[in-house]
């Protein structure tokens, strides 16, 4: 046996804190490496010069005015769901049910549009849509929250399952309300009367959504950073026992935060139905409930940084879509690129939180 004292090749320790420019330098660096890697992969698959690939990615978002508006619209919807799940995440309560909560909101909005179109004036329908869809989202999140608070039911798995219950519920109503009959789809709701359609600001179809989400974003930042509720959420997230000790009612905070989370998801669903798509399909949320988890986490649960991270993900997604169209590849190519970039950024977090000491460099361990 080798009795000589040998320190391991390297050991890992937790970093204190890095200055913010180093943190964002590491993240930016990893993003750059990821982009280079994606460029190489794309050129290997398509046989194109990598510069052209990057040009195509850029083209996908900024090519035309229309594409730019679609980019902004997609960012605002993704940001809305991300903002919604963030308070729960700050509390270390993994709400993976953004998809289902947004669907519940969308369902409620569509229900108002369809069932009340002949009995109520337009403004009343819109008012009811706002109330019911926010309520529906809140209820959809409130059910798991109640069981979490009361019996400590695992909220990650519960909210995950609630997504599919919502999907099937929407699929059910899609058949019930189908028009034309037998198509199994709802189609555009109220195409002639525009009842329940949100007003359009000037010629800009998406401006209303963008403004609403921007307001929500600022409000969420203030709520989380400067309000008493925000502080309670942070304490519960750090340590439930501490929270209980200082007299915070943990169960109440959990339920309240999840209700808020669901309500904002419901708002996202409302905007999707009332202001953008004017229809309802089971995949109207387009997986944003899941993407939002990544957006929120990448921004370290900070609403302002989330603008940047949601821009990043939407930008990449649209760019990859453009590549796929240009080089006649399958649209799923975008998911592969997004996945690769996420892996890089996820991996880079390690170097922010931990540092590696190599053998023979620096101080010796006792």
């Amino acid at each position: 046996m080798n009795k000589a004292q040998r320190s391991p090749l390297f050991h890992i320790s937790k970093r204190g804190s890095l200055p913010w420019y180093a943190v964002w330098g590491i993240r930016g660096g990893s993003l750059l490496v990821a982009l280079v890697f994606c460029g190489v992969i794309t050129s290997l698959v398509t046989g194109e010069n990598p510069l052209q690939v990057y040009a195509a990615i850029f083209e996908g978002s900024f090519g035309t005015t229309r594409k730019f508006w679609v980019l902004l619209q997609n960012i605002s919807m993704l940001l809305c769901v991300s903002l919604a799940v963030t308070p729960a995440f700050r509390m270390r309560c993994w709400n993976l049910g953004g998809e289902g909560q947004a669907l519940a909101g969308a369902l409620a909005a569509a229900a108002c549009m369809i069932c009340l179109r002949n009995s109520l004036p337009n403004w009343a329908v819109i008012l009811l849509m706002i109330v019911t869809s926010i309520l529906a989202g809140a209820i959809w999140a409130g059910i798991p929250a109640f069981f979490k608070a009361k019996w400590n039911t695992n909220e990650t798995l519960f909210t995950l399952m609630m997504n599919y219950v919502a999907t099937q519920l929407v699929a059910y109503y899609c058949v019930v309300w189908e028009s034309p009959k037998g198509s199994g789809q709802i189609g555009i709701i109220n195409p002639n009367t525009h009842i329940g359609w949100f007003p359009q600001i000037g010629p800009y179809k998406y401006l209303l959504n963008i403004l609403i989400v921007a307001a929500v974003c600022i409000a969420m930042y203030v709520y989380l950073s400067y309000s008493k509720h925000g502080y309670e959420i942070a304490v519960v997230g750090e340590s439930e026992r501490t929270a209980r000790y200082v007299g915070i009612k943990v169960n109440r905070v959990i339920i309240r935060t999840m209700l808020l989370s669901g309500a904002l998801c419901g708002l996202a669903g409302l905007l999707l139905v009332g202001s953008t798509n004017h229809t309802l399909t089971p995949n109207i949320v387009e997986g944003r409930g899941f993407t939002a988890v990544m957006v929120s986490w990448l921004a370290k649960f900070n609403p302002i940084w989330m603008i940047l991270t949601s821009f990043l993900l939407v930008f990449l997604g649209r760019g990859a879509g453009e590549i796929a169209t240009n080089f006649s590849l399958n649209q799923s190519f975008g998911d592969i690129l997004t996945g690769i970039i996420l892996f890089f950024i996820i991996g880079s977090e390690f170097f922010i939180n931990y540092e590696i000491h190599f053998r023979g460099s620096g101080k010796k361990e006792g």
């Binding site: 937790k14 400590n152 798995l157 998911d335 592969i336 939180n353």
Partner: protein
């Protein structure tokens, strides 16, 4: 009429991908890793196997050696899902990234990977086929015992499946045995419950996490392969696999982390998945969508009940979803 003799075999065939997925996920979760990448891994497993056997069928045309035709997709599938498992472990165990985020990224990647190669394989390989149809390979997978047809209902219920079906059941039972009755299983459960204690007891936490997650991914990947080769008769269609990956995760909860319970539970889930085709709903197509909700609702009920009864052995592994860092107490 409700035709039970034809219903059960179809439920079983539906259930096997879920069984494989949930067995893999159970092993993974027992090591404390909540791998939400399972849906993606199942896609990758399926498409890797399809790619392997696609090129084999291209190269050999009519005269397939059935043993090789089975071994190639299986080894490709295992390799593909192993790589996904390694990636997950590297990010969550070595780099200690957040498991939920990593898992979801893995699902995005895996589903995209599957659909991309499923949709572009023909174009990329420059062949002239209209779509990916691996009938010959699929026939090798689906070959059942010749006596099955002579035994009437008994043969149809128990012997009419391809070999991978029985392999899946055996894997599940073996996993249950290992978890409950061996030292390895005890160590694995210790790692999932409390890695600090396990580490103090001299168990190599990192190695157990890696091994359990990688083996789990490989088993789950087989589920994807089974779906394409056996259930779908070798026809790849994008997104045909659907949300079965999430259903497999639901099944883990439903079985309260016991693969042996999973055998029957997966058949039940498979049955719930297709029961809407058997229940006469007349012209009302909408109700069928509600039936599809059943597996998820049942899972939620089990999740709630098991947390309400709060019996120790029915709880999720205590450190599920948490990264382990020895120096952090």
């Amino acid at each position: 009429m409700f035709d039970i003799i034809s219903f059960i075999p179809r439920a079983v065939v539906q259930g096997i991908p879920l069984l494989l997925g949930s067995t893999g996920e159970t092993l993974t979760e027992k090591s404390g890793n909540l791998n939400l990448g399972i849906p993606g891994i199942m896609y990758v497993g399926a498409i890797s196997g399809v790619i392997g056997s696609f090129f084999y069928e291209q190269a050999h045309g009519a005269d397939l050696n059935s043993l090789v035709a089975i071994l190639i997709p299986i080894s490709c599938c295992l390799l593909g899902s192993l790589l996904m498992g390694l990636l997950y472990c590297f990010l969550t165990v070595t780099l200690r990234a957040n498991q939920n985020v990593t898992g979801l990224a893995l699902t995005t990647f895996g589903v995209g990977f599957g659909n991309f190669f499923g949709g572009s394989l023909i174009k990329l390989s420059g062949s002239e086929l209209p779509s990916i149809i691996l009938t010959q390979t699929s026939n090798c997978f689906r070959r059942s015992l010749p006596i099955a047809e002579k035994l009437g209902w008994f043969g149809k219920l128990f012997l009419s499946y391809g070999f991978l079906t029985y392999v899946a059941v055996i894997i599940a039972l073996a996993a249950a045995y290992v978890l409950r009755h061996t030292r390895t299983g005890l160590h694995l459960r210790a790692v999932g419950e409390n890695p600090n204690t396990a580490d103090a007891a001299g168990i190599n936490v990192i190695r157990y996490k890696y091994a359990a997650t990688c083996i789990g991914s490989m088993i789950a990947g087989l589920g994807g392969l089974y779906y394409v080769m056996d259930y779908a008769s070798g026809v790849w269609a994008n997104n045909a696999f659907g949300d079965r990956g999430w259903l497999a995760i639901a099944l883990v909860i439903f079985t309260v982390w016991r693969p042996n319970v999973g055998v029957l539970a997966s058949f039940l889930f498979g049955g719930l998945y297709i029961v809407h085709m058997y229940i006469p709903s007349g012209m009302n197509l909408a109700v069928k969508e509600l039936y599809k909700m059943a597996p998820y609702v049942v899972t939620i009920i089990v999740l709630v009940l098991s947390s309400m009864r709060n019996k120790r052995e029915n709880q999720p592994p205590a450190s599920l979803g948490l990264a382990y860092f020895r120096e952090e107490r």
